[in-house]
């Protein structure tokens, strides 16, 4: 492994000599979506404020109004080409509620779980291998032309192999359950439209042990990176925070269904066992004028203190255990990083992500040997309701879908709180911390750009989903003075 070249925080030579400044990074690269960063300096030339802006808008919540409710799982998955399954299943679960179905048939439930775990596996593989590993394996300061997945494949051929085949396997799971790798169709209100064919099951069984092994090898490689960069790993863009995720009825990790658990930075419970339907009693969202992404927070703690983090790090911090053996061993080792408390390191998202991948692969294996997947009882029915709320743990964290439907079966309102949105405040804080630690002078250096992007990528944000976007995904950084005038801009395509 190559050494990570990290520029150390330096004193600001311009401190006290410059007027207020503002830096803008626009657009942010190697994330899913289009965003920019602005860094505002005060009169003394110190970082006063850093913001991660989401500058794209899609408006799905508005234009699905008037559509028939059973269309929604198929429409809203078009929010994203990376995690369509999460939206398909999230909306599908909400439509189960609308259809009056509280308990799916075993075949339907397990088909959805299989698809979901395939999705989380492939999406986490995409983030770790394709987006993040160039920074981790080649170094934050490696030349841009080299610091990409092609560079990784050249320097670490085995990582390239894992990147391609683990992701491919997850997509094969999606195709086997939903007809195609991207934008599949499985959910119908109250169930699913197919079971798993024996041919597909046998094809997936053939490779699953290899996938588990590769996930474990990837984790070992990442651990070696962490152990050789312990201080960086612990401190980079890091801060204590609250966390939130779904957990199963037994407190164990459950990425498909369960109740919400939120814990504070010390691991103390903020709330437990919150059913999706009750989310509004515990969570609220705030709109800020400078971003299309809303700021959710825990209602009881208020907008200043109620923010939290979601995603793999939260999934690991919130669960009491993981129900698959290899991932559980890995979880215990991971949690030891917190010395009895929670793990707060932002870069630890990647370690947690790899553990989630192992858990997904193990769960897929377990499901592939469950005969219920070849069952023929696919759909349950119930008494129609007018409102449905559902929560699922998407690859990037907690994803909430909430719909209201009228007596003609048409959607009258929709609210989506997407994983990336949940992490909005946390991403802003990480950017601020990096800006404080790494900004030297009034120039937007390559090093600053890199470090800000590394911090954002840890969260694996999906900006398309979060604004419910079109176009490329580059990083733009802008430097502004205290009056808001732009004095420097740098764009990385």
């Amino acid at each position: 492994m190559s050494d990570v070249q990290v520029s150390q925080p330096q004193g600001n030579p311009l401190k006290g000599r410059l007027g207020p400044r503002k830096i803008v990074i626009d657009p942010v690269t190697r994330v899913e979506g289009h965003g920019k960063v602005t860094i505002k300096l005060n009169e003394a030339g110190e970082v006063e404020q850093a913001r991660f802006h989401i500058v794209e808008f899609r408006g799905f919540e508005r234009f699905i109004c008037g559509r028939m409710y059973w269309e929604v799982p198929v429409i809203v998955q078009r929010l994203c080409g990376i995690c369509p399954v999460s939206h398909h299943l999230g909306a599908g679960k909400a439509m189960d509620v609308i259809a009056g179905v509280d308990q799916l048939t075993p075949t339907a439930e397990k088909m959805r779980r299989l698809m979901h775990y395939g999705q989380v596996l492939q999406s986490n593989a995409l983030n770790f291998f394709h987006l993040a590993s160039p920074d981790l394996l080649l170094g934050f300061e490696a030349p841009v032309a080299q610091r990409n997945i092609i560079g990784v494949i050249e320097a670490f051929p085995q990582v390239g192999k894992w990147a391609i085949f683990i992701r491919k396997y997850g997509q094969q799971v999606i195709a086997a359950t939903g007809g195609r790798r991207i934008h599949p169709r499985l959910c119908i209100p109250g169930g699913v439209n197919q079971n798993l064919t024996v041919e597909n099951r046998d094809a997936l069984r053939k490779d699953i042990d290899q996938i588990i092994n590769w996930c474990c090898e990837a984790l070992e490689l990442h651990k070696s990176f962490v152990h050789s960069h312990e201080t960086l790993h612990e401190t980079f863009a890091s801060f204590p925070s609250s966390y939130m995720s779904l957990v199963g009825a037994d407190g164990g990790m459950d990425l498909y269904d369960g109740t919400l658990r939120a814990i504070d930075a010390d691991g103390e419970s903020i709330f437990e066992g919150v059913r999706p339907v009750d989310y509004r009693d515990y969570l609220t969202e705030e709109v800020r004028s400078w971003s299309y992404m809303k700021f959710p927070h825990i209602r009881s703690l208020g907008r200043e203190d109620g923010w939290y983090r979601v995603g793999p790090l939260a999934q690991l911090n919130c669960c009491a255990f993981i129900g698959t053996p290899i991932a559980e061993i890995a979880r215990k080792e991971f949690m030891a990083l917190g010395h009895g408390g929670l793990v707060h390191a932002t870069l630890a998202y990647h370690w947690a992500r790899l553990i989630c991948m192992i858990h997904c692969a193990e769960t897929i294996k377990k499901l592939l040997f469950d005969d219920d997947l070849q069952g023929t009882d696919l759909v349950a029915s119930g008494q129609r309701r007018s409102e449905g709320v559902a929560i699922i743990e998407a690859p990037r964290g907690t994803l909430l879908h909430h719909y209201a439907v009228d007596h003609n079966d048409q959607v009258t309102s929709a609210n989506l709180i997407v994983s990336t949105t949940n992490n909005n405040e946390a991403m802003n804080r990480s950017v601020t911390k990096v800006a404080i630690d790494y900004l030297a002078g009034h120039e937007i250096t390559e090093g600053l750009l890199n470090h800000i992007e590394v911090a954002i990528r840890a969260y694996d944000p999906c900006l398309s989903c979060a604004t419910h976007a079109l176009g490329q995904m580059p990083l733009v950084v802008t430097l502004e003075d205290a009056e808001g005038s732009v004095i420097a801009t740098r764009i990385k395509e």
Binding site: E71, V74, G178, G179, R185, I188, N408, D409
Partner: protein, 240 residues
Amino acid sequence: MVAASFKFNIDGIEVEATEGQSVIEACDEAGIYIPRLCHHPELPPSGNCRVCTCKINGRHSAACVTPAAHGMVIENDTPQLTSDRRAVIEMLFVEGNHPCPYCVASGDCELQALGYRLGMVAPTQPYQWPERKIDATHPDIYLDHDRCILCSRCIRASRMEDGKTVFGFEGRGIAMRLNVDAQGGLGETQMAAIDKAASVCPVACIVIKRHNYQVPNGSRRFDKTPIGSDIEAKRTRRQS
């Protein structure tokens, strides 16, 4: 009394027909596919969509409303006619709102299937983005006017097969719209889900509620074979 039979020629192939058959009917029976949208074998022809237009004895005519006749020479599968048909399909796409990726009829839609068969990659005409609303007032059926291609199948089926007059056109030319015979929408008509009119729509304008997306990808009507394959299979079987 047995109808008199005779022969005509289409794309160099000799087809046997009987008196009273239209060109499209005779060709269907012979296993030769002429693309069509408004034509339905169980309904009287209307000649609305013009997709089945062929060159018959040197003149352009809609095959669904042209009676077959002895000695006709017909051009059907030619580059020019394919191009003309593609243009008609494109116009139907841009004059409505047809989001195939999430449409309930995707994979089972005759308009979409014809687009694929005729090689329509993307419309070259500007999208009109008309503002149309769903009529979901009926408990079992909804009308998605975004998808309507004005084929009149539902109008004919309602009148001829169901003995009702649920559907009709209002307006003329580009302003023509499908309407129902009740001010309060479909829910106030005599329409029933078992009506013939509920099952003949070639797109997803008339849709039975709560039965959508039940056929998985890969198993839908046009997932494996292009539209018209069922007709062409007759000729293949005959030849083998």
